[in-house]
Symmetry: C2
Subunit: 147 residues, 2 copies
DNA sequence: TATATTTAGTTCGACATTAAACTAAATAGG
DNA sequence: CCTATTTAGTTTAATGTCGAACTAAATATA
């Protein structure tokens, strides 16, 4: 194993650990039985717009269709989204945010502000966010090269 | 939401996506029914030394005790680790790598070299690994501040 | 048009993971 | 010592996720 290879593994290892620690923090702020994955879908709909098909969301999250069926049915049962039949394609459906869904997404995000602030006392966020452009590059390349 | 907060979310979002894409690549290289989590435990034992208790590994991975019981029993059934009673503590156990376990870890890592090389045609790994020190800082702070 | 293929979503069985209850052993405090 | 508490690991029920089989609708092709 070359030095570069070793460091590449180290890079992805750090990414994995950070992701797990951050997800744990996020998860601990989720109310009664809702999972980060549920929030993520709501967040996606808020940011990129609702009125999209389940398959579109499935592709965005690179997740199996069965998983998305399950996630959407939980969100629907909770009244956070509304699932309507597709106007022109009888096989398909369209997902809309409800007011409750939008409120939940907003509230979930705001619930993290204190944690961000508290971490900011020990961490220089300005320096951290400078990594974003390079991370974006990595993400895009990994994304384009997935099979 | 301030600009900093927005970027902090974006940072963790990029981290999450990269982690998922990288994990998917890794997972697709795992043989017959073995999961990345199984590899991770073997890798941990190779890098930091075996002969440790399940609880030690549990803490290292910040995972529930039940999860580790399950993971270790899979690894043990596959002959990749050996679980022995603890010499001085009747409640505890000690985990050892087998030769098969070491070989598996080695082979799993090497199986990723082609993917790393292929990605290297589109990605400047030298620049990517420069992010490691800052990521380490973030990881350490998150780690120290977990409850 | 009739049939074959593709596409969108659901269902099913398997497994990873979790939290909580549980067992057994070790330790602490009286 | 003896009891209470803590600690290490297992078990159990619930849920997220996956891949594969399945259904139904749309599209391609002949």
């Amino acid at each position: 194993m070359s030095e570069t290879e070793r460091k590449v593994f180290q890079f992805f290892n750090e990414i994995g650990i950070i992701n797990q620690l951050a997800t744990d923090i996020f998860q601990s702020n989720m109310p009664d039985g809702l999972h980060v994955s549920h929030f993520s879908v709501l967040n996606h709909l808020v940011r990129l717009g609702d009125g999209v098909t389940p398959l579109k969301i499935t592709n965005a999250f690179q997740v199996s269709k069965g998983t998305m069926t399950n996630t959407l049915s939980v969100l629907s049962k909770r009244g956070l989204i509304r699932i309507a039949p597709h106007e022109s394609d009888g096989r398909s459906k369209v997902v809309y945010l409800t007011d409750e869904g939008r409120a939940f997404q907003k509230q979930a995000i705001e619930s993290l502000f204190p944690a961000i602030q508290q971490l900011g006392e020990k961490m220089d966020w300005a320096r951290v966010v400078e990594l974003i452009p390079e991370l974006e590059r990595v993400r895009k390349i990994l994304d384009e090269n997935r099979d």
